[in-house]
Symmetry: C2
Subunit: 326 residues, 2 copies
C-alpha cells in the first residue's frame, strides 16, 4: 500500500456520522448543510512538535488534542461543534502511528458530535491542527467582549493541572502519588474541552474565553476587550486533588500562569450568577467564583485576607498564541 | 511593540469586507452568517517551506499562494468563496516579512471576495495555509465523481507553466526571453485560481478537479472516482507562449506531470460542450478540449496521429497531496 493510500485509509470516515454532511473526505472540498437560522463559528489551531507538544508524544493523545484545542475555542463561543478539517504534517507515513493518531482524533470527535470532513496531509516536521465549524443561534455567540465592572469571574474545572503534567513529563516534578501523576498527565494529554458548559453559559454569561495561555494571560485578553481590570482571589482558584500535593508556590504559579488547561473563564452579572452556576453544574462541570471585574485596568491578585499577592512570571508564550487573534 | 501585537496588527482586517461577518479576528472564533438555501464547501491546505515552496520565496507571493491553492479547490467544486482562516508558522516575527505576506494574502482575498476572519500564528518552521468556506446552492457542487464514458475532457488556461517556473527558480532552465521567464515565474508564484470558471461550469460540467498535482495525477483521481479511463491527445494540451520556447520533451513532461498550475479539469457530456465553452470563455478563461473519458481504466496518451505516446514519469508528490483527500 502506498503512503497516500495508507493516509487516506486511516484518516477517512473519522468522527461522528452527521446527516448534514453531503460530501466528506475524498473530493476537492467537503460539502455540508448548515441548518437555517444558525450562525457559523469558525476557529483554527496548529500544534507543532517541540512548541505545543513534546517530542515523542503518544500519537493517540496528539490526535485527541489536535481537535480538543479547537473545540475549546468553540466552547468559549458557546457554539455547538459540527464539522472539522484537519491539517497534518508528518515526517513519514508510519502505519501504527497513523492508526493511533486517527483513534485519538476519532474518539474526541465522536464525544463532541464532530464529523471530520476533509484535510490536507503533507510531508514535513510533525504538526497537526484542526479547523472547526460550530453552530450558534443568530446573535447568541459568547464573546470576549461584554464584561462590565462588578461582574463575577468564574472558571470551570481546575487550573494548573496541565502545567504540572508538563513538568512531570519533563521530569521536573517528583514525589506524587501514582494516581495524581496519572491525573495530571491526562489533563495535559487529553484535555476535555468544556463544550457542554459553553452551551449552558449561552444567554447567561456576559463574556467568555478559554484558558489556553494561562489564567492571567487569558483574563487579560478578556478584560482588554473592554478596557477593564479585575481582582482575583488566589485562595479561591480551583485546584485538583493532584495539584494540592504540589508545594504552594509552584502550584500558584501554574494556576495563574500555566497554559493548556482548556477551561472556560466566564464573566457574569451578579444577578445571573446563580442561574449560570446551576446551568453549568447541570452539565457535570464544576464552576468556581474566582474574582470580580473592576473598572480600573490591570489584574490585582489578592489572598484570602485581601492582601496583594505578587503573581509569578507569566506562563505560556507560543508566539503569544491567542486563540483566533491571528 | 511585542511580537504578538506585530502579528495582530499585520494580520487583522485582511481581505474583502463582507456584511455576513458578525465577528472577525480577535475572539476565540469568528462568527459568520451563511445565506439561506446554500451549502458550505470546506477545504484546507498547508504549504511548507522546502516542500511546497522554495526557501527564500517572496513573502508577498507566499501570502497570495497560501490562499490561492485553497481557492482553487473551491473553484473545482463550483463554490463561491466567502470566509477564510489562516494558519501561519513563523521562525520569527519580522515586520517587513509580515507586511509583505499580509499584502499578498489581502490582494488575493480581495480579488475573490474573501474575508479573513481568524487564524492561528505559531513559532516554528515556515509554513502557511488557509481554511476556506465557500457557498453553493443546494446540491449544485461540482464533484470529482460523475464522469461517464464518452464525456469530453477540457482544461482551463495552460499546463506546465508552474513546473517550468520552478525549474527556472532552481536554475534548471535557461535561454528564455525575459518576458517568458517572467510569465513562468508568475504562474508559479501567483497562481490565479479559476474561481469564475468553476462557477460558470456549475450545472454544465459533469465532474471537475483542480490540476494541482499534475494533469495525469489529477485526471487519475477524477477517473478513479468512477472506475473509468481516458484518452488524452498530447498535441492538444494547451501551452503558453512562454512554454512553447521550451524543448518539446521537457515541455510535455511538465504539461502532463508538472504540478501547481491550479487549472481546472472538467468532464462534460458532448451535448453540453458548446454551452460549457461559451460559459467558461465568457469569464475570460481559456478552455481547451484535451481528450475523452473511456470505459477502459487507465489513461492513454496519443499524438496528433493517434499513435501512443509514452507519458514521462509522474510529477509532483508532496506526500501524494490530494486536495482534501485526507
Amino acid at each position: 500500500m502506498g503512503e497516500f493510500d495508507l493516509i487516506r485509509r486511516h484518516l477517512s470516515g473519522l468522527g461522528a456520522p452527521r446527516a448534514d454532511v453531503a460530501v466528506g473526505v475524498g473530493d476537492d472540498g467537503a460539502v455540508v448543510r448548515p441548518p437555517p437560522g444558525r450562525e457559523l463559528v469558525l476557529t483554527t489551531d496548529l500544534l507543532l512538535e517541540g512548541v505545543h507538544f513534546l517530542p515523542g508524544t503518544d500519537p493517540e493523545a496528539l490526535g485527541w488534542r489536535a481537535l480538543a484545542v479547537s473545540l475549546s475555542d468553540l466552547a468559549a463561543m458557546g457554539a455547538e461543534p459540527a464539522w472539522a478539517t484537519l491539517v497534518l504534517s508528518l515526517p513519514a507515513a508510519d502505519e501504527a502511528w497513523l492508526a493511533a493518531f486517527a483513534r485519538g482524533l476519532d474518539a474526541c470527535a465522536r464525544v463532541h458530535g464532530v464529523a471530520l470532513v476533509g484535510g490536507d496531509t503533507v510531508r514535513g516536521p510533525l504538526a497537526a491542527g484542526a479547523q472547526l465549524c460550530g453552530l450558534v443561534p443568530e446573535g447568541a455567540a459568547l464573546r470576549r467582549l461584554g464584561a462590565r465592572p462588578g461582574d463575577v469571574l468564574c472558571v470551570t474545572g481546575t487550573l494548573g493541572d496541565a502545567a504540572a503534567g508538563l513538568a512531570l513529563a519533563r521530569g521536573g516534578l517528583a514525589g506524587l502519588a501514582p494516581e495524581h501523576e496519572a491525573h495530571l498527565r491526562a489533563r495535559l494529554e487529553r484535555p476535555a474541552p468544556r463544550v457542554a458548559a459553553g452551551l449552558a453559559a449561552r444567554g447567561l454569561a456576559r463574556a467568555a474565553i478559554d484558558v489556553s495561555d494561562g489564567l492571567l494571560a487569558d483574563l487579560g485578553h478578556l478584560l482588554e476587550a473592554d478596557g477593564l481590570g479585575a481582582r482575583v482571589e488566589t485562595a479561591a482558584l480551583p485546584r485538583s486533588e493532584a495539584l494540592a500535593a504540589v508545594p504552594p508556590a509552584r502550584r500558584l504559579a501554574w494556576q495563574l500562569g500555566g497554559g493548556d488547561d482548556y477551561e472556560l473563564l466566564l464573566a457574569v452579572a451578579p444577578s445571573r450568577l446563580a442561574a449560570l452556576e446551576e446551568a453549568v453544574r447541570a452539565t457535570g462541570t464544576p464552576l468556581t467564583v474566582i474574582g470580580r471585574v473592576e473598572a480600573e485596568p490591570g489584574v490585582r491578585c489578592v489572598d484570602a485576607a485581601g492582601r496583594p499577592v505578587e503573581p509569578p512570571a507569566a506562563g505560556w508564550d507560543h508566539f503569544a498564541r491567542d486563540g483566533d487573534g491571528a
